[in-house]
């Protein structure tokens, strides 16, 4: 199970956090501080895994952004590494060659996408197409809802 997902920049700035296990606000800050210290200092050729307090943290760097996921000790690290990549590929497709700024300004959209990929700390959908379809449906619905007041939404959902 994935306990949390954190996106931090090379400077240690938080870009996105999602907690699947309960952590208090204070704990969250400590976790982020500890992990950014641990991960950002690691050299390029080392493992993408860090053992941390009985858990394992799998991280992957894309340009200046680190994607980190904390998992149980008996989870498959390579799989998590690919789940991260899966997420990035979907972000990439959605934003059109994604960069850090997309996530900085559209963090809530990144959350929506993450919600379609992971649920309750598990990978819920491994088909990029299925995720993209659902996100697009939601977006178009939101768009129309903005123009007209919600009642039309039912028709659209049926049309989809």
């Amino acid at each position: 199970m994935i306990h949390f997902v954190i996106l931090i920049s090379r400077q240690g700035k938080v870009r996105l956090t999602k907690w699947y296990s309960p952590y208090q606000q204070k704990e969250r800050s400590t976790v982020i501080r500890e992990l950014s210290g641990l991960i950002l200092s690691r050299g390029p050729k080392l493992c993408n895994f860090v053992e941390w307090k009985g858990y394992k943290v799998v991280y992957r760097r894309y340009a200046s952004l680190y994607f980190c996921m904390c998992i149980d000790p008996d989870d498959n690290e390579l799989e998590i590494l690919e789940i991260i990549h899966h997420f990035v590929e979907i972000l990439d497709r959605y934003f059109g060659s994604v960069c850090e700024l997309d996530l900085i300004f559209n963090f809530h959209k990144a959350y929506y996408i993450l919600d379609e990929i992971l649920i309750a700390g598990e990978l819920q959908e491994s088909s990029k197409k299925a995720v993209a379809r659902l996100i697009a449906a939601q977006d178009s619905l939101v768009e129309t809802a903005k123009e007209e007041a919600g009642s039309i939404s039912n028709m659209i959902s049926q049309a989809i």
Partner: protein, 967 residues
Amino acid sequence: MEQLKTIGRELAMGSQGGGWTGQSKEFLDLVKSIGEARSKAEEDRIILREIDSLRRRIAEPDVPRRRMKEYIIRLVYAEMLGHDASFGYIHAVKMTHDDSLSLKRTGYLAVTLFLSDDHDLIILIVNTIQKDLRSDNYLIVCTALTAACKLINEETIPAVLPQVVDLLAHPKEAVRKKAVMALHRFYQRSPASVSHLISYFRKRLCDNDPGVMGATLFPLFDLITADVNSYKDLVISFVSILKQVAERRLPKAYDYHQMPAPFIQIKLLKILALLGSGDKQASGHIYNVLGDIFRKCESSSNIGNAVLYECICCVSSIYPNAKVLDAAAESTSKFLKSDSHNLKYMGIDALGRLIKINPDIAEEHQLAVIDCLEDPDDTLKRKTFELLYKMTKSTNVEVIVDRMIDYMISINDNHYKTEIASRCVELAEQFAPSNQWFIQTMNKVFEHAGDLLNVRVAHNLMRLIAEGFGEDDEGADSQLRSSAVNSYLRILGEPKLPSLFLQVICWVLGEYGTADGKYSASYIIGKLCDVTEAHLCNDTVKAYSISAIMKICAFEITAGRNVEMLPECQSLIDELSASHSTDLQQRAYELQALLCLDSQAVESVMPLDASCEDIEFDGNLSFLNSFVQQSIEKGARPYIPESERSGTFSVSNYNSQYQHEASSHTLRFEAYELPKPSPTPATPQISVSTRTTDLVPVPETTYYYTENNQASKLPPVSDASSADHGIKLHLDGVQKKWGRPTYSSSSSSTSSEKKTNGVTRIDGVSSQSRGTLYDSKGQQSEVSAEKQKLAASLFGASAGKTEKKLASTQRAPKATTAIAERPGVTRAVSPEISKQKAASSPPPDLLDLGEPITTTTPTIDPFEQLEGLIGPTPGPSTLDNSVTTSEQKAPDLMTLYTDTPPSSSSSISSALGDIHSADKNSQMAKNVPSVKKGPNPQDSLQKDATARHVGVTPTGNNPNLFRDLLG
């Protein structure tokens, strides 16, 4: 430069339009200024300012909805950066009520990010979620399900469960998938709430949509982990699904980097590893598909390696087979030979799994392993240590443990330091080649990681030194002890030592410092005094030290030698006698008292080398019975157990094991009994006692009375009460077990008083209090049964080993030593047993000093009582056979993914129809488990009774229900 890029990007987005609509310039500026902040402090300042302004503006009346949406997103932003935005939670909750999907989605997103599942506001959202789950817009349903996964907690599961279950049949696959995931989450929160839905999961495994099928693997994995044997029939289905996935028969969309649905493959392999573990027959089905995957998987891509690794895990878990084992070993060696650190890491891990089956595999990789050990990458190094730990034998223990200790000394990470230290200890205890080495190793570990180690490790070490290595060779044992003493005396010279280590040292010096005659008593005592001086602030060490001094003095006196008190020792005693810690004071006074005794008394108080002997104590304090009885006769108030004083009624009281956690914090919902005016002008104590006697099951007196003055009126009383009880609660099967005549005897024990007082009515006692009476009775007798068992196992063991069974006359002196050792050294008692003791026994040892009378209690066989208490355990769940048969069709079903033959799916659904209906039955009862948290047992019992009337029996579909209710 970065600023320029930001602005450029912003312009680009502004022209794009679609990407970033609706956000005000203000918010963009905020995000930008955070991006430009040069320090954490600056960032914090900006956010705090933002929070201030939000707090003001969000509370304004009539904020437009769109504006509010932005505020909520800004709150999310502030929380993400680690600040508290709890003032806005309620607005996010409100936003989930909105009709517009756009706003609703934002509201749900914010709420899932803000609230943990035990937050007070959850209760306000449940209703909205319920409504949205019923929406005919599937996107709203999806959003609500996502929120449910995060927010619905154990208590609110019943509120949404029926709807989520209905959604399993929703036409949209996205909804079905999320519904399955939601049920998976519910299972994690509270297994009992979902356990009756197993057949649904089995059915979803045959879903047309691979996404739904893949999602179903998660709850199934959990269920199988909990109970492997009920799912053995699914092995064939899983194997055939895996096979078809590997043969690329799923839609192309599930391919990932040219691998066919690798994430589903990995999950299936995990499940098969569970199912095949230690099962030769099940494993037989798995070998082929494993072989296929090993062949097909390309090790060039990362995801291919992930699948290969999972295969290796599966191979190492299932019943061994030479062919797949070879394939696994080959893949492992590829991992180890790779240049990538990630793969090396996985290789080391895989090797650790495989050597459990065949230790020879490690041999050809020796060099690779050594390389990894020397690698600068900490992660890899630690993984390698883990492998070495698994590989340790008596031949290589010295090398490995030395390496581990060296690494342990070099790191700062306390968590890992603790882990590696306890591993060193474990290996040393298990494989130590010589006493000398063992003591040295332990010294090193304690010296460098002493304060991180569990206290139990220290106790283990002391026990080991006391008991020896289990050989009968007394010489070896005493050699071990004297080498320990030697090394400790040397180490005491070091300036700074962890307190735990000092405790061990003090204890060993006290027990064995003078045993071999090499060191004089005054020398050891001097050393011990030095210890206390060097560690002024630590009371525990002082306590150990003074006890050690006491022991040495006692041994000296016993041996007939004169103890001359060193001045520093005398000053230590004086200091401790005036200590703030009563424990230290007591020890000091005990030492002084001991010095005045004659040698014979001293010998029985502090026998030489007696740390391995068992100390008998009577937790029931039965020797006080006569005293209690006398006092009660004189009109004293009987003792009321704590559980009754606070008036706690909890269902789990039926089982004493859960009593400690469950009963302490519940509220009392019933009204208090009306105060009864005492009819005769009796003394106040007596009137009080008559009122409360019915609640008082002082166990020993009860037994005493039942045995001795078995009055003729007694049986009717108990019968009446139990019958009354039965009518009230509709609980036939259960209460009879409890309604033993002895239970109500406590009321009879004071019956004589009642007569004299003229109070004849007992019916002031509500049936509930009687219920608790039964409960607490049950607890107490079970606890005592447990203790007896414990004692039996203790004595059995010690009798077999040392044949120094204690005479009852020795008990009193033993108890003194027990007190002397209080800070945690339980002699000879194995750690878990001592833990149990600590948990279950009241602290009676001090009182035990008084009388060495053991058994005045007429013994009621505790085991017999125990049997009665366990009551009607529900039979094992009987799973519908029809499910099994339908599942066996799964192989054909899988073809649906590619060439959909419509006939097969319909046949399946008809086959599953009856299971469906069977489950509906149990569904009716699913509200009941939720009751178990409720504070009122009667309510839940009544619900239970209604559930029975409905026709759900404990042995029926949902055995867990009753297990929960009965604790």
